[in-house]
Subunit: 663 residues, 3 copies
């Protein structure tokens, strides 16, 4: 990939005639678009009939773009198999949990595990990689697109036949599975792997271990499909490979990105949900350390389909969305899509140009982004995001556990979104990291909402604390085993045994009117909770008042080496709970010696970067209400020139500033 | 049909013994019932076993009614095939969009397109037509009943096999279909017609063109079934033919009524939803110009089934419901049903008599209607409804488009209901007309919520304006092609090209806080919207304030010949929006020289009629709150005698007056 | 069963190793647990492979319990067939009304009527009965568990094939069925029994008679399965047999308990829904007169599963739950469950011990119950519940009718719950009784919400009134026949004919703004209602004001012999309606000479018992707010000693007192 700050759009030349394509290229040049993403839905143009593969059209398109200096990300077209793949072959179609078989007419309707589908995917991918792998316009690959954005686990006969083999690979003997899962409950015990059902309809809920295992199985199979494509591409191309993912899809992102070269995702915030967008930046920046991530898709104004849309962005938002993306670590920022679809089911989706070739409602925002991209490019290319001192684990596996066992109808994404936001509004710079990430450089580590704490995480946390770090464990962490059962050695399993704290009870505290008191704040407690007894080697910092266990602890410190482990057993709720979370985060950030902190009003964020020996703060008003930031020292104004004294800086609606700090 | 004002009820002699039937006839005579509708659910009585057809029972029933001077509408019994039709033959059953196959036990469970079902329908209809077609009691035919009231499109194998032929008939070549639909999106492209799926479950929404086409296909097939029956009946009978329809069912009423002789529909308002009932009168009056429509079914007090019912009418409502029906053009007003069902799933439905033969809660209302029918008959028979000067297009095809693409979860019926009501409360007499209706005699024409504006409509509108008419186009009109794609020549397609206005953008304005200001009224704007730029040949009369396109136009006039075209690009919302609509309607009614206007309080309506050289106004308080009307000139009180001076006339709760205007 | 007051828990030794089992037994002894329930989910432990039956494990477990003096209720394991029952045999699985076939992985997934399943059930039950039928630890049997707690009627092919035979057994000829059901409606008429469908999906609702009959069929089949097991057990054991039922399941409890020896049920109130729990005590006490019922399952604090839980009880509630149970007639009070499940789908359910062997959050409550059980045992064993003078009929058949025809979305359980609560808060002691119960000893009898009043009930009521009793009939009673059709002789059928009152109309009064005025109270009226005309032999005590039948009666007395029949035609709503109900109950209790009445504050209840020639009142504050009771005479304080004077007695939060009344 070239040393550029990329701004681009998804482009579908297969949908338009050559005259329109030429108009589009001219308009791209006028707008400063320097990259397009192509190909992910174009299989029927590449191979209209089976084995009739012709990629000439796309090679010529890449030639044209290259001639104009526009780079290309090319995608494999596997999300949209042509009609010859499935017509007359229902056995190749995805079947959902209700037993409903999908049909051609949309996308992702094939079972990804069907051998014929897989074979045809290998063939088309190999052809593309051969034909375009060394094309000078090509700067990167995207494999497939938004895996599982419309579908979840598949329940077709192919998957049914693969499932016992997967189980056998994991458990070796059926006795081991029965023991691990505890299948004597309700006489579920199996005599052979082929008897273990897919979690299809049954009178009540399926066994938790089964449901969790099936989700893991499905996620592994997606990853294998991705890896298979990556291996083929690498034979013919050195360009870096990514997948356009999204946290909301049913995937194991940690596993998937191991075999990829850079991170990318789609992101469709509306202008009032920018906090979760910033979480994505804080997470995907760390997926491939040192490699910029891409916002592979974002709307110019609103997304839309036949039956709804998000409200269009307020004017000014798109510009700060892009500024924040680049500042927090994006190397590319791409719109979906260049030209409004003239047909299909996404005709109302925002775009750069309308279907009739005129500027869309989002066009002025695109012009503004193009301008600021140019202004930022030298600053961004010569610096890189500063590592945070605070890390929070983000786990797709934890999400699976909370999907199998939602307890208070918990939603993992909403839970971590809230914690992330409160970290942000506590003024703490933060990295979200996958389970296997190393903790070097961090001082405070949080692992909330991780029902199963694998041994390697526990060991990592203990070592981290021993060396002076503070590890905040919980809430809703450690109360399940890796097999999705209840620990039988202690409420919170191995951690409780090692650290010698004592859980008094684990129970649903919601509805009992229990209040938590900690860090000078009082808030209602909720969700499935662990409450603790005071012991000689623990220090209680949060107490339960009222409810059925008054006087119990719900936040407790266990001193550990030079640091400590902080057990958070229950979840403070509501506005008071937010306040308590911020107070807790600040308290332990202080204790841990976290120095990278910001004093800004809520709605205004700071992206710290390091480059050429100095610290750069990109400050952005994200909520459109304006705000202010306390500059800790004088700073150069890197966009407008001049020097700004230490002290408060005011930002207007959707204003952003770039400061080079003195010191 | 005789020169009578009809009042009747649905009657099911097949459910009762001869003693009860005789009691019923005597009670009908006492009540002044002069017509009954018979036969629509009686197939198993006519043909209890296949080919064992005996219509003697019904012939004798018609003899009895004829002897008593009660006329009969006879129905074909095709909505309720007997058990021998489907037992052991699942392939003859309707299959819904979820793939669920219906069973015997209710009605409409057969696929209407199955050849065996169709053959048996032809046989029973021919037998009935032969046996009863010249019976002196018979004054009309009803084909089937409430097509598609419980089911929508069918997805059975018969329909699956017919679908490619229908497509081929329409597109001739698969290339033409691919081009028209734009199937390169998501690689949906088809190689042959038999590959085009029915819109059964797929991971996301189906292609809009496919979904719209399948709905059109299904509606055409219903119409063909109707036409087949009509053709058979006409061989043996001269009595006029109708179908008992309802706007809420999934039908193409415009096509269906082309081949029928008079319009009829069922109508189950509760006493607070009379506005939509009046819309039906304003529409069906114009379906067969010059021929009175029939309210073929309405409750005496409330409808009901096993799991719910509407609230019973307030006392007095039934009387004004009938008065309004007759005054607005009904030739018949029929209850469903005469005697409460003693079994089945509609036992709680209101009726004239209870299952045990006593007056129901609705009986006093029936007595009142019978009395007023007699009083009105001479007035109604010697006059006819006055044509309106304002017409609004009602389109089942538009409804299909908004079903395929509901955008803001729009409901076509609610949208047009609202516009109709505001026309009414603006004091404008109005006709609702189908797409192909001629515009002779109208001065103001509205085509709101018609996503696709066919060429013939555009041409009609331009000619209408050229000759001095005002055509109000939109909102939500013209932004799609007939293939349910986006126009690529201009935002609003051909109309925009011809009239040379300019759409700045089409986007969802909901949620952006945009306000519309027009005709001195301010209101929030909502729904998918087009906003316009001011050009040399347009005059802006409604501006957008706030939101993402402040300063754009949302109502714009294009002068055209002696008249003008008024583009309405967005939908004003809420009470302010209602006020804006009324202001706009009055403004353009003034401009267009509409003279037929009423000044009455909301809830009180006027049905204008012409007869024997004078204007008759039937004034009815519909809401039960009383109201008043400004008489423009002195008038004769045609019900009570005497003369009433010009000026305000007060109406009490559910009062009605009939005035012969002096002028 | 021994002369003990039992306190126990459900125990699953098959899930734990011998070391854990020994710890559990020791803890049970410490806690005073004197009974465990075992076996209902253990089939795969008893017969891991087909015909490999070994009950040695359970015999040894019973030996151990017997050695420790802990008695055992043993269950047949038929709710959880092992995998060999269904793997490869989809035809043995339950199919729900939507046609969805269940799978192994939960419980109750087999069709109970499948011959192979039934054969295997007979074999395992016979083996168990033989092996354990005379074991000295065994004090009782439970057949299966919570029939139909997760499933409703089955629609599999086995059930499809049994259904015509059941119909033939009931109607003999298809003509009789057609006549009884009135199948001429919608041409539904059948030519043979095998044509009558199961109520699977059809375009609208099925015929009411069909839906009701299918529910009756399914309930009879469950009862037959139960009876089959009971017959086998009785061959080898004299221990009494029960089933653990619940009013919410789809069962005919009256039929089922005829062949059982004692009543038992599960009950999972949260601490704020204790009123419905008390209804269970008032009902199941009377199911097997003279035999104590068992609360076979109740939580120690909260129930729970993968996706939710009830809120834990406030501290103190569990103790009064147990006191109320024993006082109102329970001989046993059992928790579900002893040790938290470590796997499956109920891991979050409250228990006595946690999965890791420590006291749960409910443990202190269990300690308290154990203590009070000891204190109460001598008092309870030497007395028995006092019969009430007020009886209300509870009918699972009525529930079926309201399920088939829910009218205003009525829920039978909620309707009777409300009437029971208002009886309780009117200070009336009450028995709930099944339809066939005798009325000896009662003075006031209520039959609300019984759509079909069988002849034997009518005759019983007339005889009861003749002899001086007061029979309150309605609301929603008597308006349907036993075939679920409308009576054709009179609105309320035979009763109306015999008693010569006159129903003016039956209609949905909801939404008409009708008010009821009776007993000095005014309240809105709702639901499907009958209103009456005043006749010479009736006395109106409740009038309708407003609505569509102003001036009609809705409560009317018919003097009958020495007593009277009170017709209640409509349901008073809201708080005013509650007040009217209490006023009506008190008024007729006075008229009927009901003397067993309490004056306590709402939330505090009295369980009257008789023993050793005196009256004992167990007074319990159930709502946790404290309360008071007016003692009608001095009394001995049987728990704390001393004498308490007549007059008000104050109870604190969750306090209970036991008084031996003087006189």
């Amino acid at each position: 990939m070239k040393n550029k700050l990329y701004y681009g759009a998804a482009y579908y030349p297969e949908l338009w005639n050559s005259e329109v394509i030429e108009q589009d290229i001219q308009e791209m040049l006028r707008l400063g678009i320097n990259v397009v993403r192509i190909g992910e839905f174009a299989w029927s143009r590449m191979e209209p009939e089976m084995d009739l593969i012709d990629l000439g059209f796309f090679r010529r398109i890449l030639d044209r773009f290259h001639a104009e200096g526009i780079d290309v990300i090319f995608c494999t077209p596997t999300p949209t198999p042509p009609i010859w793949m499935t017509h007359g072959h229902p056995e190749r179609l995805h079947v959902n949990a209700e037993g409903k078989r999908m049909s051609h007419g949309s996308r992702q309707h094939c079972c990804m595990n069907h051998p014929f589908f897989r074979e045809r995917c290998r063939i088309i991918v190999e052809n593309i990689a051969k034909e375009l792998g060394r094309h000078p316009a090509l700067i990167g690959w995207q494999i497939d697109n938004e895996f599982h954005c419309h579908v979840g686990e598949c329940f077709c006969d192919t998957c049914k036949s693969l499932w016992p083999y997967w189980l056998q690979g994991k458990y070796e003997t059926i006795e081991a599975l029965n023991d691990a899962w505890g299948t004597d409950v309700w006489s579920e015990r199996y005599l052979s792997f082929d008897q273990v059902p897919q979690p299809i309809p049954t009178p009540f809920y399926h066994h938790a271990s089964l449901t969790t295992a099936y989700q893991m199985f499905a996620r592994e199979k997606v990853a294998e499909f991705l890896e298979e494509q990556a291996d083929i591409i690498r034979k013919y191309s050195d360009a870096p490979i990514t997948h356009n993912t999204n946290r909301a899809f049913k995937l194991d992102n940690e596993r998937m990105f191991k075999r990829l070269d850079f991170a990318s995702f789609d992101d469709y915030p509306d202008c009032d949900s920018y906090e979760d967008m910033l979480l994505n930046y804080d997470l995907f920046r760390n997926v491939k350390p040192g490699v910029p991530f891409w916002v592979m898709e974002t709307s110019t104004s609103h997304n839309g389909h036949l039956h709804g849309y998000m409200k269009p962005h307020r004017n000014g938002f798109l510009e700060v969305e892009a500024v924040a993306a680049y500042a927090f670590g994006a190397g590319g920022f791409n719109h979906w899509l260049w030209r409004q679809q003239r047909s299909g089911c996404e005709m109302t989706h925002g775009s750069v140009l309308s279907a009739w070739g005129e500027p869309s409602v989002g066009y002025p925002g695109v012009q503004a982004v193009s301008k600021v991209r140019q202004a930022l490019e030298p600053l961004i290319l010569k610096s890189e995001p500063q590592q945070a001192e605070v890390a929070m684990t983000y786990s797709d596996r934890a999400r699976v556990f909370l999907s199998t066992e939602s307890l208070d109808r918990l939603n993992y994404l909403q839970l971590v979104n809230r914690w992330h936001s409160q970290l942000m509004w506590a003024g703490l710079h933060r990295d979200l990291i996958f389970e296997e990430a190393v903790l070097d450089g961090y001082k405070l580590w949080l692992t909330p909402f991780v029902p199963y704490l694998p041994q390697h995480l526990t060991e990592k946390g203990l070592a981290f604390a021993k060396q002076g770090g503070i590890w905040i464990v919980g809430p809703l962490t450690g109360y399940r085993t890796g097999e999705h059962t209840v620990p039988t050695n202690a409420a919170l399993g191995e951690l409780e045994r090692i650290c010698s704290f004592h859980t008094r009870a684990v129970y649903p505290i919601s509805g009992t009117n229990a209040q938590g008191v900690a860090f000078g704040v009082r808030a209602p407690l909720g969700y499935y909770s662990a409450v603790f007894d005071e012991t000689s080697n623990t220090r209680t910092v949060g107490w339960v008042e009222g409810g059925v266990t008054p006087g119990a602890a719900f936040i407790q410190e266990v001193p550990w080496g030079a640091g400590k482990i902080v057990l958070v057993g229950s979840t403070p709720q509501g506005k008071g709970g937010d306040e308590m979370l911020r107070a807790m985060f600040c308290y332990y950030a202080d204790k841990a010696g976290v120095s990278l902190r910001f004093h800004s009003t809520q709605g205004t964020v700071v992206a710290p970067r390091v480059g050429e020996g100095r610290i750069i703060w990109v400050v952005v008003n994200m909520d459109g209400n304006g705000g202010s930031l306390e500059l800790p020292c004088p700073a150069d104004d890197l966009l407008n020139g001049g020097t700004v004294p230490a002290g408060p800086v005011r930002l207007e609606t959707y204003e952003y500033r770039v400061f080079g700090l003195h010191s």
